[in-house]
Symmetry: none
Subunit: 208 residues, 4 copies
DNA sequence: TATGAATGAGGCTTCATTCAT
DNA sequence: TATGAATGAAGCCTCATTCAT
């Protein structure tokens, strides 16, 4: 009986935390982070100011957890989509399919793109990955994925980390303004050239 | 006589504006933008608060002009270095030489790297390029450079804008953490792979 | 059986109250009263916030009871020490011996000195003396002591209350900074002069 | 002309600072220090919140300066009164006359007595004495006074600092409750006994 | 032009207290 | 009795901006 009581309370707490998460995301993406105050967040969530501090240290805390959370959601979805396909015959195909999924998700949800791109930086990602409350939520973990892919691949690359890095930066940088402003070209035009470039970069890195 | 008087006043005005520019840059790069107040800036510059508003609209205004200014300084220096070399036989060589110069400048001045990277975004660049007070300062102009290079080249590319974009994003993204944190590898290790990738991307874009 | 059950519960209650007492004292003397919150107290005591309000009205309540308690402990100890001596031949000797014991106790426990001195005031003492939960704890009672001493003495004084008052204030005031800061002189140097002054004051008050 | 302008502005500033001083004193003595907020102070003074911070660091700052200020005012007045008398034939007479003046001042202004007694401590006095904005206000200086008296006296004392200390503590301690609560006796009854005790203490300290 | 005193909105955070469980 | 989530008033302080001089 007392167990059920506890779980009920825990559920309520979870609900309140999620409420704060969702309303914060809403406000950060519409008003912008620095123009969103704690007052805005709590009045939107319909809770008292003090309640915010029961769940988060400050505005930066909730932002960082939000970024990590959303970032992982996107990667997890992309991973699952790649797994479900049966036309992936090489690592190149896999990387491109993964990229394609991420681009598509961002194209459909430009608010998310703006939020993540504006706020992403390595410090945040790192501390977030360490935060168990996020990584434990689902079984998925971006670090595990990377390891898994590397081991499965039968082709060897000179420096896989550098290669992935170059690809990620190229993709994220160009897509940001392509999706949001159609500059230098709309995303549909950009994609084939991007994929060609990914293959070209991977080719330079192969060890024969 | 009155002309000289006017020019003297103009000089003084210029002096104060420059002072505010320099001190702002100092503070933005040490304390960070959002933690730097107008009070900080003026007390460091030794002028009154009201004076700030005589020259700039607000804190964002001075930051944007600062970024554009510093960004152009770097490009101009890189351009001049490339011009002075006599071992540039192709557009690829030119792009790589230009990139190399920029990377070297940032390696020597990581504060600048942090400032520009953290604040750069297309909106700022665009409004800044339009601002005559910056572009007119020296004869150099990044837009003109681009045109010039494109016309000179005897090889044609499918989509030069896209190509340059992809290269720029790949370079800037990877160099940031490579220079500042040696991640994923130190900049000296990164460079050859980056240059290989640049050549590879350009190759995919060539029209034969 | 039910009696033992009740006494067990009573013991538990007593235990919790004592726990709150002890942890409060610890925190008040380390962090200071105003910087110690109820949250601090209960989290240190390992009980829930609501529990605090089961035993005390508020932070002031627990502080006042603490002061009275600790003050009485000190007086009781001093009284017992004086009783145990056989070299006390006059009221002057008794007063000085009592004073000496209190000073020694404070010298060994400066935290207590700070706490009591900083918080002592007549309102608190008075309400605390009235509080039965404190005075009943042991048989000792400072008011009874005073009466007892006065009756036993064969010398008469003009105004014993005033005399004791002057002595107490002189002693407590000077000892505070002498013990804590060695100002104006260390306590060992101060003592003989203090005792001379006590004797001198008492002499002016004697009725011959 | 510009000089007069500056002095006019300085006058206005002085006026505002004094306004804050006065209103703070009023509130601290009626509501109590901890229950007086900055908001209370500024709304009573009729200035904006920010203005407070132009003149004082925080609530503690204004309180400490207030104590030092008021304390010095009292001592200065007592000193002048002693100087004006022609029946002072010894150091004992001087100390007693000074004490008498201070007691009389506090008897007439019990609010001041409460404020100073509750807040006085050596740290505050010390930092206040160092603060030039207070000590320079008038020529008077408590440290100078002490030196002056010591040099003039033709009788020598074993340890003048300790002696003064004991006297001060005895006087201040007993007077506080005597003036405010008539306990243990009204101040008029206390005085003669206090003065006897002062003479007795000084006697024990004389070097013959 | 230049100054800097004054403003006051608005942000962040703490914390005593309550009350449903 | 005991709990601790929730409250929201209340405090402190900063800072961009204005305007009289």
């Amino acid at each position: 009986m007392s167990e059920r009581l506890i779980s009920k309370i825990e559920e309520k707490k979870k609900h309140k935390k999620d409420l704060l998460f969702n309303k914060s995301f809403e406000l950060f993406t519409t008003k912008g982070f620095s123009k969103t105050s704690i007052s805005d967040i709590v009045s939107n969530a319909g809770v008292a100011k003090g309640t915010f501090y029961l769940y988060f240290k400050d505005k930066y805390d909730i932002r960082n957890k939000l970024i990590a959370q959303k970032g992982q959601d996107i990667c997890e979805k992309a991973y699952n989509e790649v797994q479900a396909r049966d036309d992936i015959n090489s690592l190149e195909d896999g990387v491109i399919a993964f990229t394609d999924s991420v681009i598509n998700q961002f194209s459909k949800d430009t608010i998310m793109l703006k939020f993540i791109a504006k706020n992403l930086n390595y410090g945040i990602i790192h501390t977030a990955i360490v935060d168990e409350s996020i990584t434990n939520k689902s079984g998925f973990n971006i670090a595990k994925l990377y390891q898994e892919v590397k081991e499965k691949s039968d082709v060897k690359f000179k420096s896989p980390e550098v290669m992935m890095y170059m690809i990620i930066e190229m993709v994220s940088g160009t897509c940001y303004s392509s999706i949001l402003e159609n500059e230098p070209v709309p995303i549909d035009e950009l994609k084939p050239q991007l994929f060609d470039s990914i293959r070209a970069i991977m080719e330079t890195q192969k060890i024969h």
